[in-house]
Amino acid sequence: MTDAAELLRRTRELLAAQPPATTGRLDFLRARFDAGLAWVHFPQGLGGLDAPRSLQAVVDAELEAAGAPDNDPRRIGIGLGMAAPTILQYGTEEQQQRFLRPLWTGEEVWCQLFSEPGAGSDLAALGTRAVREGDHWVVNGQKVWTSSAHVARWAILIARTDPDVPKHRGITYFVCDMTDPGVEVRPLRQITGEAEFNEVFLTDVRIPDSRRLGGIGDGWRVAQTTLNNERVAIGGMRLPREGGMIGPVSRTWRERPELRTHDLHQRLLRLWVEAEVARLTGERLRQQLVAGQPGPEGAGMKLAFARLNQEISGLEVELRGEEGLLYDDWTMRRPELVDFTGRDAGYRYLRSKGNSIEGGTSEVLLNIVAERVLGLPAEPRTDKDVAWKDLSR
């Protein structure tokens, strides 16, 4: 087992061999990956050292103190948080060797081709077809809500390979080359004015069978790895007091006494308390994880933050009064990074409307809590034993 002292020794060795001051960013990141210091809990040879995940902090702190460049994790969140764990669990050795290093260094950006216009909450009903032709699959269909699609080199894709069996069983998981001539990416403008997401049209896209992840028809199970990691990422940020959406509105309140009213004061205090309690709840969840007793609270955290973000940003628009009638900028843009707490109150209000939809709607999450945590009866299923092609749509 690699311990903290050993990791520290290796980190210093890396810094000595590749001094950040005189080494190119990409060269340093590649060397870090090859030294097993990228994600220490990954296997040796794949950027890790089979060390406990909690020891990553030791490496990160030492590298940060030495002024080493990082891999800009927010820009490549889908690759790091969703594609990588799936490739690690289900990829062949060849796939792991090919994809993980440039994924981690950020040389190759990843996106996710899951949701479709006709398959949102009911993702397993997806209709994008993949038909086998020799050692290739030919893919046709439409995907939606794809962030980073316009800059991505690769996509994780789920498609229907067998329409004659019930929906969960006829799905296969692929790695799709976003430079294939059959891939067309169109920006999807949202209510904020910008286009953070895309629509992706797939027309006779050819994917070699060697880029299949997991077995034929096993794609739903593979996708669970991806989706579980997504929800961990969405609910799992660590915040100081006033660290989230409550921060900007509290500062506005302090700096602008002329905006204060009694009604707004009561509502602000209620939301401040709720935001602080949600922060403590998230902190308690993290402490449980560290102690090796993961609680079911994770499913709830996303619900709590979605509602709070919406209510707090809504309050701030109202607090701003006349300024609340204005909007900073409606220009159509394609931002590379999304900052929920960035820009003006109006933007935050509009953007946070998506928080209760993206990554699982609040309604679906409430069902999950009710069924998996409280053990209440599942929703009646009329689609379970019906072939996908016979479902109503």
């Binding site: 204060r260 602000l268 309690v277 709840t281 902190e283 069902n367 009866p377």
Partner: protein, 358 residues
């Protein structure tokens, strides 16, 4: 960072208290007892205070206590809340004890309360928030005169801690005053009127700091009791809706109910974090005011809603005297006023975190 979890020792303590309550504090027994002349359960109180030594958790060992902290007392209160137990734990082992801990001349009274030999009550109205004004009795010719109302668990106390108008806190024997029960919303934590007509008292120390400290600890740990109340309501309601069939299926399968209970679960989980944060702050002395205030500004709405949802989702049976859900509704509603309403705590918070009123 605050430790928001339960230690192994705390879980063992919980299990021991729960075992005792399972054997000696069943819901039907509590429903029957609260209508009698003696709503408190002295044998249960003796088992907790004397038998298990839980009355002395907050008292240092060299002063006759167990030398534990608010974290352990909070676990006891969670379980007592879950059982709606009619025992004066919060009022004697927390509030009166904290008041004595702040007094210079507590003498052997602290030891007597810690060991469970005697039971105390601070004669400040249950509705009083930490830092709020409270009634003091007249000190005249070396004796105490006055009338105090809304004193929780006074009927179970054998010594009263009474603030007087000279700024002192006095120990007064219960048999030297007249204690008259008041018909109370919360049947399991009854209030009483206390009349002092020339009662002798022994000065313990200054009332101001003692009352403030006592009410702050009471408010902070009340959140754990409210958590216990809410947790019982959620657990019992989930059990009921899985079991109860209408329209040829368990009513818990209807999405309208599932979503309400999932939402309630999220609130109970959140209250657990807030209550642990308050208990831990009281134990360590760090960030106490904000954490206690946040817990009290949050807890009441969760406990009350849990009890109200429990009643509604139990249907007609929830409206009967026989079913225990009303004990929890009454406790939750009374707790929402005890040691200051959520609104009073929000007001205090406005100052603490610099979000001033217009």
């Amino acid at each position: 960072m605050t430790d928001l979890l339960y230690s192994e020792e705390e879980e063992a303590l919980r299990a021991a208290v729960r075992d005792l309550l399972t054997d000696h504090c069943d819901a039907a027994g509590v429903v029957a007892r609260v209508e009698s002349d003696a709503p408190h359960d002295p044998s249960l109180w003796k088992a907790l205070a004397d038998g298990m030594g839980l009355a002395g958790l907050l008292v240092p060992e060299d002063r006759g206590g167990q030398g534990a902290t608010h974290r352990e007392a909070a676990v006891v209160l969670e379980e007592l809340g879950r059982a709606a137990a009619p025992v004066p734990y919060l009022t004697s082992a927390v509030v009166a004890t904290e008041a004595l801990l702040a007094c210079e001349h507590a003498g052997d009274l602290l030891d007597a309360l810690a060991s469970g030999r005697r039971t105390g009550a601070l004669t400040v109205g249950l509705h009083t928030a930490p830092g709020a004004a409270f009634t003091a009795v007249r000190l005249e010719g070396g004796a105490l005169h006055g009338e105090l109302t809304g004193i929780a668990d006074a009927a179970a106390a054998d010594v009263l801690l009474v603030p007087a108008d000279d700024g002192g806190l006095y120990a007064v024997e219960a048999d030297a005053v007249t204690v008259t029960p008041q018909a109370s919303l919360d049947l399991t934590r009854p209030l009483a009127r206390v009349v002092l007509d020339g009662a002798p008292g022994r000065r313990l120390g200054d009332a101001g700091p003692a009352v403030r400290r006592a009410l702050r600890a009471g408010a902070g740990l009340l959140a754990s009791e409210q958590l216990g109340v809410a947790d019982w309501c959620l657990t019992e309601t989930v059990r009921h809706v899985k079991d109860r069939k209408q329209f040829n299926r368990p009513v818990g399968g209807f999405q309208a109910l599932k979503h309400r209970l999932a939402q309630l679960w999220l609130e109970v989980v959140s209250l657990r974090a807030a209550a642990r944060a308050a208990a831990d702050a009281l134990a360590t002395g760090e960030d106490v005011d904000v954490r206690v205030t946040v817990a009290q500004a949050y807890a009441a709405s969760v406990a009350v809603r849990a009890a109200e949802e429990a009643l509604q989702l139990h249907g007609g049976i929830g409206m009967t005297w026989e079913h225990p859900v009303h004990l929890y509704l009454k406790r939750a509603k009374a707790d929402s006023i005890a040691y200051g309403t959520a609104g009073a705590h929000r007001e205090a918070l406005a100052e603490l975190v610099d979000l001033p009123a217009p």
